[in-house]
């Protein structure tokens, strides 16, 4: 598969930092502080964003909120038709019952990942409320799902891929819009590599 063409870079490292700081303020404002708040990031990049949001919240409020990561592989709606995704594992070490959970993901697209994440959370416990924070909302929703906190709205075409790269795992931080080959993957890039090679 050929390297996808980068059409534009819609967020650079500073943009991502500023967006996360604003989102941390918005989360604290909407929830009147950090009491009973917890962050759950969806692997493979939502968990890293959730960790950064936690640092911001601690800087602002002086409170270190519980942090977990969620792997939605077992809850996908396309399991029997698409290959078994690599399972990176769910790791939530705190009791989510009664907590306000802020789900964190990188790019909100069809909404199917969030649907799966909500089901997965409900099997783990009974949160008081679930909110959604995403760095990028690219549109094209297929389910009635919306984000409570958005880093940036990025209108995109269905044959484009909107991808977040993070310094920790990719060696650079940016949100890029890429052209997708016909039949190519339009999802998140695998960690540490730019494109899936079949």
């Amino acid at each position: 598969m050929s390297e996808p063409l980068v059409k534009s870079i819609c967020m650079n490292e500073e943009d991502i930092d500023r967006a996360l700081t604003r989102m941390a303020h918005q989360i604290l404002e909407a929830n009147h502080g950090a009491k009973s708040l917890a962050l759950v990031g969806i692997v493979t990049r939502g968990d890293i964003l959730a960790k950064r949001l936690r640092e911001r919240i601690e800087e602002i409020e002086g409170v270190c909120v519980p942090l977990g990561k969620l792997d939605i592989s077992f809850y996908r709606d396309d399991f029997m038709t698409h290959f078994a995704p690599e399972v990176l594992g769910t790791d939530i070490q705190f009791n989510i019952d009664g907590k306000t959970i802020v789900l964190v993901d990188d790019v909100l697209y069809t909404g199917r990942t969030i649907r799966a994440a909500l089901d997965a959370l409900m099997d783990i416990g009974r949160p008081a409320a679930v909110q959604l924070a995403v760095l990028v909302d690219r549109g094209h929703r297929e389910l009635p799902i919306r984000a409570d906190y958005v880093g940036k709205n990025v209108p995109s075409a269905a044959d484009e891929s909107v991808r977040l790269f993070l310094q920790d795992v990719d060696g650079k931080s940016a949100v890029e819009i890429l052209d997708v080959d016909p039949g190519g993957r339009a999802g998140a890039a695998p960690l540490g590599t730019k494109e899936d090679t079949e």
Partner: protein
């Protein structure tokens, strides 16, 4: 990348990377098994037949739990209710199952080769749950998982498999699997319970002197003395077997301090394994193996039943 296998019948068709993927997937299923709601919707809508034509409680229960925790619909077919006792041929039985529109058949049979035959006849996914003296691949996977969990590696490990080698389907999968993963395998048995040509086993060495090799072993895998399969008195008495090939309390001092003891169950206490060893808090991993059985079977169902098309991610 899609998992390249449709069936789990012959473990030697799997590469070290593929086996490692199954073990890592199995580890991820711990989280599901340790929470309040021990079930995920992954295999919702899939129908799995457990076709057990030979008595089995543990293996069948373990498969059933794995299926239920993945939300598959499971059907138990076989045992005394099997239609083969009414004279139906295997191919007619398989065609009947196919007419039920099942997605996977899990087979236990006293005849070696039946799982492969069913795979050819049915066209659906097949897992061998033990066929004759041939293979028992999910047992090998759970053994590997337990060894990996306790030792953290396979490369360079010395594994001794002790007991009824020639009648054992556990060996039929375990020895090739250990070799694929890079372990050294020594088989230890009375000469009467070793095959005529030991080389066919694929082990690195064979001996009838347990005491001489015990100090080198990192993993001591005790096979069950299958009293129901022994013909022609391969050893004089169970007491003598225990003295020569049993893992007794007296042998503890011969073993490495961190050597572990595995057993596929059910245990004949006082024959191949003394209670001291079976219940040893540091050495015995037997109950870990039982738990690993659920984890690796969930992993095998997950990888085999996952679709093959790389689709558009949501």
């Amino acid at each position: 990348m899609a998992f390249p296998h449709k069936h789990l019948i012959d473990i030697s068709e799997y590469s070290a990377d593929e086996i490692m993927l199954l073990l890592k997937t199995a580890e991820r299923f711990k989280e599901v098994n340790e929470r309040r709601i021990k079930q995920v919707p992954t295999l919702k809508g899939a129908t799995i037949v457990n076709m057990f034509n030979e008595p089995s409680t543990r293996t069948r229960s373990s498969f059933e739990i794995a299926e239920k925790r993945l939300s598959a619909n499971s059907l138990n077919f076989g045992g005394s209710s099997t239609s083969t006792v009414k004279g139906e041929s295997l191919s007619d039985t398989v065609e009947t199952l196919c007419a039920y529109k099942v997605d996977m058949i899990i087979v236990r049979d006293k005849h070696a080769g039946v799982p492969r035959k069913i795979a050819d006849l049915s066209g659906v996914h097949v897992i061998d749950a033990g066929d004759g003296k041939h293979q028992h691949p999910t047992q090998a996977l759970l053994d590997l998982y337990s060894i990996w969990e306790h030792k953290g590696k396979f490369e360079g490990l010395n594994v001794g498999v002790v007991g009824d080698i020639s009648h054992s389907r556990v060996c039929g999968s375990l020895i090739p699997a250990l070799k694929i993963m890079g372990a050294n395998v020594c088989v230890i048995a009375p000469p009467t319970l070793l095959p005529a040509d030991v080389a066919t086993l694929g082990a690195d060495s064979a001996t009838s002197d347990l005491n001489s090799v015990l100090p080198d072993l990192d993993v001591v895998y005790m096979l069950r003395v299958q009293r129901e399969r022994l013909e022609g008195a391969p050893f004089p008495s169970l007491r003598e077997y225990n003295m020569l090939f049993g893992l007794t309390k007296e042998r503890d001092h011969l073993m490495k301090p961190d050597a572990i003891v595995c057993h596929p169950g059910p245990i004949n206490r006082g024959v191949e394994l003394d209670s001291f060893m079976a219940d040893h808090p540091k050495r015995s991993v037997i109950l870990d193996q039982v738990y690993a059985g659920i984890l690796v079977r969930m992993a095998a169902l997950y990888q085999l039943l996952g679709g093959t098309n790389d689709g558009i991610d949501a």
